[in-house]
Amino acid sequence: MDRTVYRYNLVTRLAHWVWLIAFLVLVSSGLQIFNAAPYLDASDKSSPAHRVLSIDSPSQGVGTTTVFGRTFTTTGWLGWTDDGMGSQGARAFPGWITIPSYQDLADGRRWHFFFAWVASVCWLAWLVSSALKGNLAEMILRPSDIPKLWPMQAYYLKLRKEPPPYGTYNPLQKAAYTSIGLVITPLVVLTGLALSPGIDAIAAPLTWVFGGRQFARLWHFAGMLLLIGFFVVHTFQVATHGLINQMRSMVTGWYRLGEHDGVGP
């Protein structure tokens, strides 16, 4: 029995792919911006005593990364890297991962702020449209899903023959999509805004609640790491759970239900 359902509306599909491009640009232009001050402090003003991460080049040809006071040699990867102009130099993140490839804070900011608008508008459009169409309700993790989280994980680990019954998304998908879509993404936007002196003057509690400007920079970076983590796991899951079906559904909207897939929340 072929059970094909229309799962993703046009706004969701568009938002998904535009968001992917914006995400990649925001990471690479963000690392460009980070390179201008390659350290993160858990404080309001800059404070070496509260330094959580710093990427340095203590001497010619050597790159180091210090995390919570522990220093690692990271030559070639972090600290002493590709300068984006065909050779190596003192640079935190390498040129092959930044926009532009060479060090240029002004242009990195240009890209970052343009795509920050794109990503924010995109996220908002998705949120409103999926809330109106009821897709959000299928996706949100509910209290009743929590007892099903471990059984679902056990099924993935082949410790259980059958997954717990679920609707459109299984409990682990719901947990991932809810945390990324409704918690991490807005937090990354808000911590980014909190870095701006103009925003701090309008909405001081925003910067304050994250612990100040440098702390907001640390949270913004941590949020990026979580988004990258989601990106990797998400790509892995898509690749291993019916790649063609998954890709087709995010292009055309039509998804063929799997053996355990249901519909609804």
Binding site: I99, D104, W111, F114, I202
Partner: protein, 246 residues
């Protein structure tokens, strides 16, 4: 196996394609200009409103970090410095009805404002310091700007290694902001040469490059298209946004 291949190739190609495509687009003048359109949006939405946070004395950074063009070494500046700025005059001119030239003593005799605010550098770091001085708004108001006045341009003593002079600009609204200050004192002492003596602008609602050091002249203008590179500031001429609230 195919799936692992798909995974590895899609993630690595997404990452690896981003920088070269982005760099190529960045070098396209039209696209570069298009990206800049977001600046107007940010300025329209955020603008310059509200007040920068003010801190207690205990929050002051032990070192007020310096990250600017080098301290001026011109004969003119060195002579002023050697004479304790007795020969200094802050010129206020341009599209105003009352041009003036303030001595440092005159500036010190005006009503002073003290603020302990955070200086946020465009690079990402922040430093907190106590600034005292004259509100820029008082100086601008005293000059009686003419109806066509839209911007206040700050001409400075410092030059880069190419000889290009530092300058900055604010619009009238930003200039009249109650915390926009002509700083004369930093952390309880007269501003020293490295921190912008004798007069350094403080704009706590915007990024640090707006807070021009070593100010020699304040010019009120209708537009800044004919000043230096035409973008309203030294860093703006090198691609940084004129609106520095974000």
């Amino acid at each position: 196996m195919n799936r692992k291949l798909f995974l590895a190739s899609s993630i690595s190609s997404a990452l690896a394609a981003c920088s070269p495509i982005g760099t190529a687009l960045n070098n396209n003048a039209g696209f570069h200009h298009f990206l800049g359109s977001a600046q107007g949006l940010s300025e329209a939405v955020i603008g310059t409103h509200g007040l920068a946070r003010e801190y207690p004395e205990s929050a002051i950074s032990s070192v007020y970090r310096i990250d600017s063009l080098p301290t001026p070494t011109s004969t003119r500046y060195m002579d002023l410095l050697a004479g304790d700025f007795r020969g200094y005059r802050l010129i206020v001119d341009g599209a105003v009805d009352r041009k003036s030239a303030y001595t440092l003593a005159q500036l010190r005799a005006m009503p002073q404002q003290t603020q302990i605010t955070r200086h946020d550098c465009v690079e990402g770091w922040s430093v907190i310091g106590k600034w005292s001085g004259v509100r820029l708004g008082d100086i601008v108001a005293a000059a009686q700007p003419r109806a066509d006045a839209r911007y206040v341009v700050f001409h400075c003593f410092d030059r880069d290694d190419q000889g290009t002079q530092y300058y900055e600009s604010l619009d009238m609204h930003q200039a009249m902001h109650p915390q926009t200050l002509l700083g004369l004192r930093l952390n309880g002492a007269d501003v020293d040469a490295d921190h912008g003596a004798p007069v350094r602008l403080r704009v706590p609602t915007q990024l640090g490059y707006k807070s021009a050091k070593w100010i020699s002249r304040i010019e009120v203008v209708g537009n800044f298209a004919n000043i230096e590179g035409g973008h309203g500031g030294y860093w703006e001429d090198q691609g940084y946004e004129w609106y520095a609230g974000i």
